[in-house]
């Protein structure tokens, strides 16, 4: 009896340990995709893209898996890389770009896709440039966004403002905000989604570098530059807004949407990825506009955010798997697919042919809010400052700048002090990173 007991225990233990994936139907080539698309975007991936791809290519099976927030997805992917069993493709947000490049765990898209297979020149220039580092396209552009200004037209009307004339500058935003609050149309004027990212946007938008070595693009960045006078100035303007009650802090990432959707705040600076979600959730007329500018500052343009698709090496991929990945990228690159993804979410239609298709359909005429970001990203010079920042361990630096801004908004530190302390913390992170990845 005893001997059987041991055997049974072992069998049970192994049954628990062996992953289900080992026992699976043969025949099709399976590729897995880990992503962070919640909300309306989840359906767009699982129903739209995966089902469509699997129907078009019966010999391939794409298995998308929602793995939590961007940060969680990245952590899980790294754990899987270490364990030697990562997904074929992982969606990583733009701040993970430098980390992924340095990881040694990826196959750059340039090395994977043969010349002529995908016409990368069809991609909208700023998107292609963001993910191209020192001449190499590392990841497949997928969901690109930028920040725009959303405003509540009903509140504007109630406050006696022209609902078709949103503020174009910081000064106008202040004046209109005061009028909105004075008239009682809303409790606050403006709130910021992803505050640290909006802070970064403002640098590119006014053609200012955020980090040295051309935003980390000619060589790895060793120092952030947001403690320069522009950063202090920007933080002081926001501090004044917060003190006056114009700016209502609503938390990080997408949390501030709630105050805007509830009609508590008249304006929201937020990612374009929320156009669809906000239009669906709002019980008022939603307007969108370019981000307001700071008068007297040089013109740049807003910068790309969102995420891209990275191919992971794992313990080596078979030619069939690589072919399946390329097939998926080709599928995503089709104008109809790119256009549909845009319609479902609000992310950029990433290619020029998709834009033409949408124009021919008359999509933008009936959905003007989907056009705002697209126009914004194409207005302004293409300089080192507007191509997006690459920083080692940018994830941690985002957290540092978010904290810095919370100190500014709550008045716990003067803008100058907060920015100085934030930059010191960020520089320490860069030093550690550059030591770890020589």
């Amino acid at each position: 009896m005893r001997r059987y007991g041991v055997a049974v225990t072992l069998i049970v233990v192994f049954a628990l340990v062996i992953p289900g994936g080992w026992v699976q139907a043969q025949g099709t080539v399976k590729i897995t995709l880990w992503h962070a698309m919640g909300g309306a975007r989840y359906e767009a991936i699982t129903k739209g893209i995966a089902e469509g791809f699997n129907r078009t290519y019966p010999s391939y099976t794409l298995e998308p898996l929602f793995t939590g927030s961007y940060a969680e997805t990245l952590t899980k992917a790294i754990a899987a890389i270490r364990a030697g069993n990562p997904p074929h493709i992982v969606q990583v947000y733009e701040v993970g770009t430098q980390t992924m490049i340095d990881s040694g765990a990826i196959i750059p898209v340039t090395d994977l896709v043969k010349p002529g297979e995908i016409n990368f020149n069809d991609y909208i220039d700023p998107i292609l440039k963001y993910y191209t580092v020192r001449g190499k396209l590392y990841s497949m552009p997928f969901n690109s966004s930028t920040a725009i200004l959303y405003y509540n037209k009903d509140i504007f009307r109630k406050a006696g403002l022209d609902p078709d004339r949103p503020p174009q500058t910081f000064d106008e935003l202040e004046q209109m905000g005061r009028q909105i609050i004075r008239s009682g149309a809303a409790r606050g004027a403006v709130t910021l989604g992803w505050p640290a990212w909006i802070f970064e946007q403002m640098f590119a938008y006014h053609n200012k570098l955020y980090a040295n070595n051309e935003n980390g693009r000619t060589a790895r960045a060793t120092k952030v530059l947001f403690d320069q006078p522009f950063g202090v100035y920007l933080a002081s303007r926001w501090a004044a807004w917060a003190k006056e009650g114009l700016l209502v802090y609503g938390g990080r990432e997408y949390a501030p949407n709630r105050a805007f959707l509830a009609g508590e705040v008249a304006m929201l600076m937020q990612s374009t990825s929320q156009v669809s979600t906000i239009e669906r959730g709002a019980q008022f007329a939603v307007g969108t506009a370019f981000l307001p500018r700071i008068p007297g500052q040089p013109r740049g343009k807003s910068v790309i955010g969102g995420a891209s698709l990275w191919v992971l090496k794992g313990r080596g991929r078979s030619p069939a798997e690589l072919a399946a990945i390329v097939a998926l990228f080709k599928y995503l690159n089709q104008p109809q697919q790119t256009a549909q993804w845009h319609k479902d979410t609000g992310y950029f239609p990433a290619t020029q042919s998709a834009v033409k298709l949408l124009e021919a359909e008359g999509w933008f005429a009936t959905h003007p809010n989907f056009l705002t970001a697209f126009k914004q990203i194409q207005t302004g010079p293409d300089t080192g400052a507007t191509r997006g920042v690459l920083l080692g361990n940018f994830v941690q630096i985002r957290d540092i700048t978010d904290t810095m801004l919370e100190r500014v908004f709550s008045g716990r530190m003067t803008p100058a002090d907060a920015v100085r302390v934030g930059a010191e913390e960020a520089n320490k992170v860069l030093t550690e990173y550059n030591q770890a990845y020589k």
Binding site: R82, R187, G188, Y249, G251, R258, A259, E264, F409, S410
Partner: protein
């Protein structure tokens, strides 16, 4: 009942599963954490370079870490004090002979059954700065409501109340059980001697409850120190400006957001030492005052 095993092997076989589990999920990871705390770890390859006490020096000299330690102490002390006192008061009330007392008891124990994520979401929604019910009620009655998520002290208060509430059910169960074990004759005898209810409680009931109170003090402190990650993550994410950045949350940020495993492991080692010390201290000093009938 003196049972004997027929031979020497069977007992080992029987305890083997738990030994394996402890080894796999406790001892081996702990050893790894100890090793990583002395290393700089490449997250992608897992390759560890020995750096000695570098991580500990970085931690102990960083103001951020000391700040987190301070927040943790305040948070733990306030949560435990608030939860224990409220739970005791409620247990006293629930220890009466009332119609429908079963219902009340179930309602009191309820919060304990909720997952941290659900409990956190409830409190986050209640105190949402623009759409929360508490915000709304305050505006309707007092006229103003603070932005809970911008004021560090208020945010800390919200998570303390939420954590204390989460512990309440657990504490009430133990206090109720403790109260029911207190012999009624003792209290009656004191009443006959003319002791007022308040004095009867302090002189008779409370000392008899001391083993329960002591046990709860330890479990509650451990909870407040170690297990509040879920609540904090859902309600404040350690903010605003790190006002609710308790030690476990900082560990999570460094380990799982910034992927700095060496630093995070060093923090877990320090936490382990801290909690061991805390428990020893509590047994040493608080334990003396415990009156086991």
């Amino acid at each position: 009942m003196e049972g004997r095993f027929p031979d020497r092997v069977l007992p080992y076989v029987l305890v083997a599963p738990s030994i394996i589990v402890v080894l796999l999920f406790l001892l081996i990871p702990s050893g790894e954490a100890l090793w990583q705390s002395l290393s700089r770890v490449n997250p992608f390859t897992g390759q560890a370079t020995f750096v000695g006490l570098h991580n500990f020096i970085v931690l102990l000299s960083s103001e951020e870490y000391r700040h987190s330690a301070g927040v943790s102490v305040v948070f733990t002390a306030a949560t435990v004090a608030l939860s224990l006192s409220t739970a005791l008061a409620m247990a006293l009330l629930a220890n009466q002979r009332l119609r429908g007392i079963g219902l009340y008891r179930v309602a009191l124990i309820w919060p304990y059954a909720l997952s941290p994520a659900v409990a956190g979401t409830i409190w986050a929604l209640l105190f949402e700065p623009s759409t929360g019910i508490v915000t709304f009620l305050l505006r309707a009655t007092v006229g103003v409501a603070p932005n809970w998520m911008m004021n560090g002290r208020l945010a800390l208060l919200v998570v303390i109340v939420a954590a204390a509430w989460k512990l309440l059910g657990y504490n009430v169960v133990f206090f109720l059980a403790g109260l029911q074990a207190v012999p009624e004759e003792l209290s009656e005898a004191a009443a006959v001697d003319g002791a007022p209810p308040w004095r009867r409680f302090w002189a008779v009931t409370f000392p008899l409850l001391s083993p329960v109170t002591f046990f709860l003090l330890i479990t509650n402190s451990l909870y407040a120190f170690f297990e509040v990650f879920g609540l904090i993550d859902v309600i404040t994410q350690g903010g605003p400006a790190r006002a609710t950045d308790v030690l476990v949350y900082k560990l999570y940020r460094d380990g799982f957001v910034s992927i700095n495993w060496g630093l995070a492991s060093a923090q877990s080692v320090l936490l382990f030492v801290l909690v061991a010390a805390l428990t020893i201290l509590q047994f040493r000093y608080a334990g003396r005052r415990v009156f086991y009938s």
